[in-house]
């Protein structure tokens, strides 16, 4: 496991962790929203702009070749990180949201008709709800929702009963951004595949924290964002099985994605270019690859193990506080703890913690249907990374106790 000495060293890679907030050391517990960037990623961005910047593909000149190689190498890095069978199964997008929208549009065009159904779960982020609602509206589909129990675990019996001959796609999150629940996605995929139903997994909250292998999961689509795994903002990934990506149309037209263009008829390029219209974020892709290499060098299993200890420690210490109510109590949880204290509003807790240099997130976390289903208006969420420490959790608990005293 990562030792305290390891963490001290790793923290040096993240200059922002030295920042002072209102004169106090920053304690950053908002990693579920975005992670901080290590020097290696920052250096890669600077290096790429200094030495590798030219528009990629089709360029005959040296620099364009180099930039193209870097972008395509990044694709291979992502493919191996996810355990994809083929590198052209990796499509670069702007993030998880764009990746889901792409599938909702293109898969919807190819495979969905009036009366069909899409299945999501009650714990989805808005970005895994709204694109499907838009598809439902566009083509006359129905959205079905998997419920959960009071611990924040999906009701698998209900899930099974939702699958039928009209179900076209199941789209669920691997890890809940509010509850931290790690969903049994392998089982979800297996059950869907028994009925020839395709499955998209939203991995935004999973890839930074647990080992993901899309082949082992047998996921049809798997999506994530770069910025939540120590990479830059504005770059994300859509993994799709080759035969599926081949079978669905592109959702954006433009340069790069074409084979031959005439005013009468345009034919599309092969994978992955068919889905990457326009100049892709080739600096972002190489920086994302650097972030993935950084994570791999530490070891995702070691990260998972350490973050598990942090999360357990935080949970135990939180429960010292009177009126503490942890939202999401399943055993199988990632590095997220959502909570409420008595009747205190999450905004008040978040505001006062901020004054003490502690960054947490409050509110509905872009998962309003989930928050509504719990009969609350929001939570306070602390979400951890491997660069967080038990000392920081101790400071957080001390601050929280002070805050609760002020507010009660």
């Amino acid at each position: 496991m990562l030792t305290n000495d390891d963490i001290v060293l790793l923290r040096k890679d993240f200059p922002i962790l030295e920042e002072k907030i209102y004169g106090k050391p920053l304690i950053y517990f908002d990693n579920g929203a975005t992670t901080q960037k290590p020097l290696q990623v920052l250096a890669r961005i600077e290096y790429a702009y200094k030495h590798l910047n030219a528009n990629i593909h089709r360029g005959v000149h040296y620099l364009s070749q180099k930039a193209t190689e870097a972008h395509e190498d990044a694709r291979s890095t992502v493919a191996s990180f996810l355990g994809a069978a083929h590198r052209e199964e990796i499509i670069f997008t702007r993030g998880t949201t764009e990746a889901i929208n792409l599938v909702a549009f293109s898969f919807g065009e190819a495979f969905c008709n009036q009366g069909d159904e899409i299945v999501v779960s009650v714990m989805e982020h808005h970005s895994n709800i709204v694109p499907w609602q838009m598809l439902c509206e566009r083509k006359g589909l129905t959205l079905r929702v998997i419920p959960m129990n009071e611990k924040g675990e999906l009701d698998m019996q209900a899930y099974k009963s939702l699958l039928n001959s009209r179900t076209r796609l199941v789209s669920v999150t691997h890890v809940s951004n509010v509850l931290g629940t790690v969903n049994p996605v392998q089982e979800i995929i297996r059950l869907a595949h028994e009925q020839n139903i395709h499955v998209l997994i939203d991995g935004a909250q999973a890839v930074p924290h647990i080992k993901v292998d899309v082949k082992e999961l047998d996921a049809d689509f798997y999506v994530f964002s770069g910025h939540k795994i120590y990479g830059p903002t504005g770059i994300g990934v859509l993994y799709g099985k080759r035969e599926l990506l081949d079978a669905i149309p592109p959702c954006q037209g433009g340069g790069e994605m074409i084979d031959k263009v005439t005013f009468e008829k345009t034919t599309y390029n092969i994978l992955p270019f068919k889905f990457e219209a326009g100049t892709p974020d080739y600096i972002g892709s190489t920086a994302l690859a650097e972030a993935l290499r950084y994570v791999q060098a530490i070891g995702i299993e070691r990260i998972a193990e350490y973050e598990h200890v942090l999360t357990r420690y935080a949970t135990t210490r939180l429960l010292e506080i009177d009126g503490m109510h942890i939202i999401g109590t399943t055993e199988n949880k990632s590095a997220v703890v959502s909570f409420l204290v008595g009747e205190i509003h999450p905004y008040d807790i978040g505001m006062l913690l901020d004054k003490m240099g502690i960054a947490v997130r409050t509110g509905h976390h872009c998962a309003q249907p989930l928050i509504d289903s719990l009969g609350i208006t929001g939570t306070v969420r602390a979400s951890f990374s491997f660069y967080n420490t038990t000392d920081e959790i101790d400071s957080f608990i001390a601050a929280l106790k002070k805050v609760v005293l002020m507010l009660s």
Partner: protein
């Protein structure tokens, strides 16, 4: 007292404290002291929805003066609501329309009135002005 005299008094009250904790303690006290909004006014059409917290605002005109009643589900927001009510309730529409709110800034609570906070306060302020405009138009 004029609107600005009240604002100046609030600034004085808060600026006797150097420590942010004391300022927030005062705000929390004010929030706790705010009379709860009667259920009849705590209705959906009076909700000013923020992403983080909600504010309910009710307005009525009595003898040329506008009276506001309001509440929030978050106590810190409620404290600021109490201050805004102190400044704006019992005023003529013109006084409200011409008023410029500067006290929040001056007592170091500007962040709460930032549009990005999405706590309902910016929308509340806008709604107060809209009520003033509506009452003014109705009376003229």
């Amino acid at each position: 007292m004029t609107i600005n005299q009240i604002q100046d008094r609030i600034v004085e009250d808060f600026n006797q404290f150097d420590d942010w904790m004391d300022k927030y303690a005062l705000l929390i006290d004010l929030g706790n002291g705010l009379e709860p909004l009667e259920d009849q006014y705590k209705v959906p059409q009076n909700i000013i929805e923020g992403c983080q917290s909600r504010v309910w605002l009710h307005a009525e005109m009595k003898e040329e003066l506008i009276h506001f009643k309001a509440e929030s589900d978050a106590i810190i927001v409620k404290g600021i609501v109490a201050l805004l009510l102190e400044v704006f309730t019992g005023r003529t529409p013109d006084e409200i329309l011409q008023a410029e709110v500067y006290f929040v800034d001056k007592i170091g609570l500007k962040e709460h009135l930032s549009p990005t906070r999405s706590n309902g306060l910016v929308a509340m302020l806008k709604q107060i002005k809209l009520y003033a405009l509506a009452f003014k138009t109705r009376n003229s």
